[in-house]
């Protein structure tokens, strides 16, 4: 569903140009689960941002391929702002390290928000999601009444509530203790598998990375499969 071809990205840091991604190539198919590891500042999050059309590469292509015959391939890097918004609305779910739940609305409202924005509210699907993630008893609570692990599970549910074909997770267990980290990462991978959603997860943890089908490592701007 996504094909990355010769992606190149550099930053100017203190007047010095630093190439963070060098000729990165990757193919992501529906239902794939991929983890990307690497040292701090190696460009893992940058790669994720490129996949979410939040940033643009210096060169290279990210092709969004459609499974049905009617749709032609789309070049994400050439998206206008409006197209990028549409892409994120319908094709992508995002999970952040810091959960980023909206404090003033309930768990259920947080989860339903992307589905409501896209107009794809399917109550049965949401119920399945809640059951899968084990948060069905917390739906009427406010986020600050939940533990860190529970909050991240809500964030996962929110990332998947509008049934995106691709879920991008940026260090989803970075703020959790090891017990919760194991639980949440397992739930994340299992739920994506169950829903046939492609998962690209950036992580520092080898243990978490091993849960995914493919493990990739980013070092000196080069992405290599382990």
């Amino acid at each position: 569903m996504l094909v990355l071809k010769n992606l190149q990205k550099s930053y100017t840091d203190a007047g010095e140009k630093r190439t963070i991604l060098k000729n990165v190539n990757l193919g992501i198919n529906a239902g794939d689960s991929i983890s990307i590891q690497g040292a701090s500042g190696s460009g893992k999050s940058t790669l994720l941002h490129l996949l979410a059309a939040l940033d643009k590469p210096d060169s290279g292509e990210i092709l969004l391929t459609h499974s049905n015959q009617s749709g032609s391939d789309e070049e994400i890097t050439k998206f206008t702002e409006k197209q990028a918004d549409q892409y994120r609305q319908f094709q992508v779910g995002l999970i952040f390290q810091k959960f980023n739940l909206i404090d003033c609305i309930t768990v259920m409202d947080n989860i339903m928000l992307p589905a409501k924005i896209t107009g794809k509210v399917q109550h049965e699907y949401i119920q399945e999601l809640l059951n899968a993630l084990g948060i069905q008893d917390h739906i009427n609570k406010l986020p600050n009444q939940l533990s860190g692990g529970e909050q991240q599970r809500v964030a996962i549910a929110r990332g998947l509530s509008h049934q995106p074909p691709l879920l991008l997770a940026d260090e989803p267990t970075g703020n959790l203790d090891s017990k919760n980290s194991d639980l949440v990462s397992q739930l994340l991978v299992d739920t994506c598998k169950q829903l046939n959603t492609a998962l690209v997860m950036v992580t520092h943890s080898e243990k978490v990375a091993l849960l995914t089908q493919q493990q990739w490592y980013l070092d000196d701007g080069k992405l290599t499969q382990i």
Binding site: D55, Q89, I102, C104, L113, P114, K116, I117, T118, D170
Partner: protein
């Protein structure tokens, strides 16, 4: 932002202090025209017989050498332009007529009391005595008077008046290219002329409140420029012995009267409410500016928090950090006060023509320019600003102290929240109760204004206590198909807790806006209705002098109703006795506030058994319908008892007035100042001709009813320009305060905005949602401000106006006006807050994501 708000606060405050102090100086030195030691004035008490040169010379011949003649005329100032045919034409420079005053300086210099003053003024130790506010006789003044006498072609005026004249000349130049050739003004070659092109005297500026709005010159010079100028009064210079005073009184012809010169107390008393209101508005703006200071200090602290935490880790105590921050604020306040005072003085200069016009329209009081002590003003303003800014800084600094003491912000517990909610409700009850008691039992104007402030504060408490429930209530009406709007409205609730101070500032501004606007609107409606009813004739002539219009109108077919006026003393205060015609149409035209239920009201009035009084009389002396009062007969002078048959509206009149039937008056013993005319247009044309022949200017003096109504309403609108201006400024400052709060909160709501944008919601939509959130907060504040605004206008009309002006009028609550205020307020807020919102929205999403994570 901190500096800007402090400068605005200091500038507003100093401008009002300068305006008020100038007016005070001007009142106390009124009718002095630079002449020191005036003990009495002699004026005419009849409109038929004026003070003449013959009266003056006769009195001086009788040995009254203390008398100094003053002649006055109101004239426009012109400048010459050169037309194409090389002939010069006069172009009007001034927008309103300037008072030209001529003093018989020769007589003044030769009067014994003036010589004494000069001798005294040369003694340094006694100079201070001469500089008393009521007597501007300094050595410099004496020198100027000598100069006026010896160099007759010199005139003196206040530097600010000269500045205004030069500005008006510049405007005239711009609108008329032919004036472009005029060079810059120099004393010796000033460009001003009379209407007929005579060059004005050499203008010398001198800063003294005693100059008022006048251009003062020698009397001979005044007659050279304006041969038709009339003697307005005689000044008695120096102390008069009792015997001499009696002799003078006996020597006066019957149409002249000896009176004490106005000490300015009456003027000062009349306008005190205006000055108090001006001060109240300035203080309101000052308080709203302090709200900005609170937010600005919050912003400052937020940006320094990391650095301050490092300081704490390095062992610097919280007390030290607190005082360093406070010291910084104190220094900034001192600098801002200085800049504010300088700006305030300039602002006062700019506003002084409007203020002067307002006071003239509202109270018929002429205000001149004063002398400003910059050091005194600086001490006063910086003192007030320091107290204000320290108070305003204390809240955020205290919060910082708290933040530096603990690692994370701990939200209030349920018990703490309940405690604060109870405190807010208690404050509401206490403020309302105190305000209620004061408004019902107090009469002092300052106490009523204090009660008004308490009412507004109680409104703030009510708003704070009910913000959450009101927002929740509004949320119910947002349809489920707008999920983002629902989320935004819920975020507004969270934001309301963090923008309490800014929301209160906005509430105060909105309440005062609604209150003032409804009051002005009601006053406008009442004035229009009153004028339309009272102005039942076709034309009106305002002319105090000769010839009498009734005489001129004979044989023209025009019916003339003349209004005769007599000034009497009632319970130690001056009251106007006014004639009122009694025919059917005039009875219908009378606008009653309250009238006797007696069906024979008009027959009792016509027979002289009863009188009509204006509200100023009834409220000022505490009389009601059917009460009896003892008044002198307008022509016979005999005291009789009259029943009050009705209380009438008489807006704009600062004096208490009693209306009596016209047949009780005699023209020779009263002043005639107004004529109402009824007649066909052709007959009026005949009268016009006759007026022209008699040397009157019908174009200026004969006013058609519609024109008079328009003129009156223009004067009305001009009067409220300052109120309108201050209203907009207060609203703008409140909106700025809200914008400051938003800048502070932008970091707080950044993660949530980032999250919504990461879900594919466009930047524009996110910006609109942010705008919606703040406008919703303002809308709720407006909803609460509406009843309080109505209450405020009720207090202004029925309490403040009652005490300050002794008149009231019906309160008109116009829903359209309120909606208009809603729209204006929300528009002002939207304009002000749109900038930080757009700035936040323009930031690339990726920056927010990196910042949040």
């Amino acid at each position: 932002m901190l500096m800007a708000s402090l400068i605005i606060a200091a500038a507003g405050l100093s401008a009002v202090l300068v305006i008020n102090s100038s007016a005070k100086q001007s009142y106390s030195s009124g009718q002095q025209f630079l002449v020191p030691n005036v003990s009495y004035t002699i004026t005419s008490n009849s409109s038929k017989l004026k003070l003449t040169k013959q009266d003056y010379s006769a009195l001086r011949v009788k040995g009254f050498s203390e008398l100094i003649a003053v002649a006055q005329t109101k004239q426009h100032i012109y400048t010459n332009k050169h037309a194409a045919n090389q002939k010069s034409e006069s172009t009007q420079v001034t927008q309103r007529r300037i008072d030209f005053t001529g003093i018989d300086t020769f007589s003044l210099l030769t009067s014994p009391s003036f010589s004494n003053l000069v001798a005294l003024s040369e003694q340094r130790n006694t100079l201070a005595k001469l500089n008393s506010p009521s007597n501007a006789a300094s050595a410099e003044t004496n020198r100027l008077i000598r100069q006026l006498s010896f160099n007759e072609s010199t005139a003196i005026l206040h530097p600010q008046l000269l500045e205004q004249l030069l500005e008006q000349l510049e405007d005239a130049k711009k609108s008329n290219n032919n004036l472009g050739e005029l060079g810059p003004f120099k004393n010796s070659m000033q460009p001003f002329t009379t209407e007929v092109g005579k060059p004005l005297s050499e203008l010398k500026s001198f800063e003294s409140a005693a100059l008022g709005n006048d251009i003062i010159m020698d009397i001979a010079e005044l007659y050279r420029l304006y041969p038709n100028a009339e003697l307005s009064m005689l000044l008695v210079v120096g102390e008069l012995s009792k015997a001499k005073q009696d002799a003078l009184e006996q020597s006066l012809p019957s149409h002249l009267q000896l009176t004490s010169p106005s000490s300015g107390e009456q003027d000062s008393e009349l306008t005190s409410s205006f000055h108090l209101n001006l001060m109240a508005m300035a203080l309101l703006m000052f308080v709203v500016c302090l709200f900005i200071v609170v937010n600005a200090v919050n912003l400052l602290i937020n940006s320094r928090l990391t650095w301050l935490k490092i300081c704490r880790q390095l062992g610097i105590s919280r007390r030290q950090l607190f005082f360093i921050q406070l010291l910084e604020i104190v220094l900034l306040t001192l600098v801002a006060s200085f800049v504010g005072v300088v700006l305030g003085i300039e602002l006062a200069k700019l506003a002084s023509p409007t203020v002067q016009a307002t006071l003239e329209n509202l109270y018929s009081v002429e205000v001149g320019f004063g002398k400003v002590s910059i050091i005194g003003l600086l001490i006063q303003v910086s003192g007030i600003c320091l107290v204000g800014s320290i108070c305003a800084t204390f809240i955020p600094l205290n919060k910082l102290n708290h933040q530096l003491a603990q690692s994370a912000d701990v939200p209030l517990t349920f018990v703490q929240q309940r405690f604060w909610r109870r405190i807010i409700w208690l404050s509401f009850v206490v403020f309302s109760a105190v305000a209620f008691v004061i408004l019902n039992y107090a009469q002092a104007l300052w106490l009523l204004l204090f009660a008004t402030a308490l009412v507004i504060l109680s409104g703030c408490c009510l708003l704070l206590a009910n913000y959450p429930s009101m927002l929740s209530f509004i949320q119910r009406f947002i349809p489920a198909r707008f999920p983002l709007l629902q989320v935004s409205s819920k975020q507004s609730l969270a934001l309301s807790g963090k923008t309490k101070i800014a929301c209160c500032a906005f509430f105060i501004a909105a309440t005062s806006n609604i209150g003032m606007n409804l009051m002005v609107d009601s006053f406008r409606g009442a004035t229009v209705a009153w004028l339309e009813q009272r102005l039942s004739d076709d034309y009106y002539v305002y002319n105090e002098g000769e010839p009498n219009i009734s005489d001129l109108a004979k044989d023209t077919g025009v019916n003339v109703y003349q209004r005769l006026e007599k000034s009497i003393s009632f319970q130690g205060k001056q009251v106007q006795q006014y004639s009122y015609p009694t025919d059917e149409s005039k009875q219908q035209a009378m606008a009653f506030y309250e009238k006797s239920k007696n069906e024979n009201l008009w027959s009792e009035f016509i027979s002289g058994k009863g009188v009509l009084v204006n509200q100023q009389f009834a409220f000022g002396f505490d009389y009601k319908i059917n009460d009896e009062i003892e008044l002198p007969h307008p022509s016979k002078g005999k005291l009789s008892t009259y029943k009050i048959l009705g209380i009438i509206y008489d807006f704009g009149n600062p004096s208490a007035q009693v209306l009596m039937p016209v047949n009780m008056f005699e023209l020779s013993k009263s002043i005639c100042c107004l004529y109402a005319l009824q007649g066909a247009e052709s007959n009026i044309d005949l009268l016009r001709e006759k007026m022209r022949t008699a040397g009157l200017d019908p174009e200026e003096e004969l006013l058609k009813t519609e024109d008079l109504l328009a003129l009156s309403m223009k004067a009305f609108d001009d009067t409220f320009i300052i109120t309108d201006g201050l209203n907009v400024v207060t609203l703008l400052v409140a909106a700025l305060s809200l914008a400051c709060a938003i800048i502070v909160l932008m970091n707080d709501i950044r993660p949530q905005n980032m999250l919504i944008r990461s879900m594919g919601v466009s930047a524009l939509k996110t910006q609109l949602l942010a705008l919606f959130q703040y406008l919703l907060l303002c809308f709720v504040a407006l909803i609460f401000a509406t009843p309080f605004g109505i209450l405020l206008s009720w207090i202004l009309i029925f309490d403040i106006n009652y005490q300050a002006f002794s008149w009231t009028y019906p309160l008109i609550i116009s829903p359209m006006k309120i909606l208009q205020i809603y729209a204006t307020s929300l528009l002002v807020v939207a304009i002000v807050i749109i900038i930080p919102i757009i700035r936040a929205g323009r930031r690339p999403l990726i920056e927010d994501i990196r910042w949040v994570n």
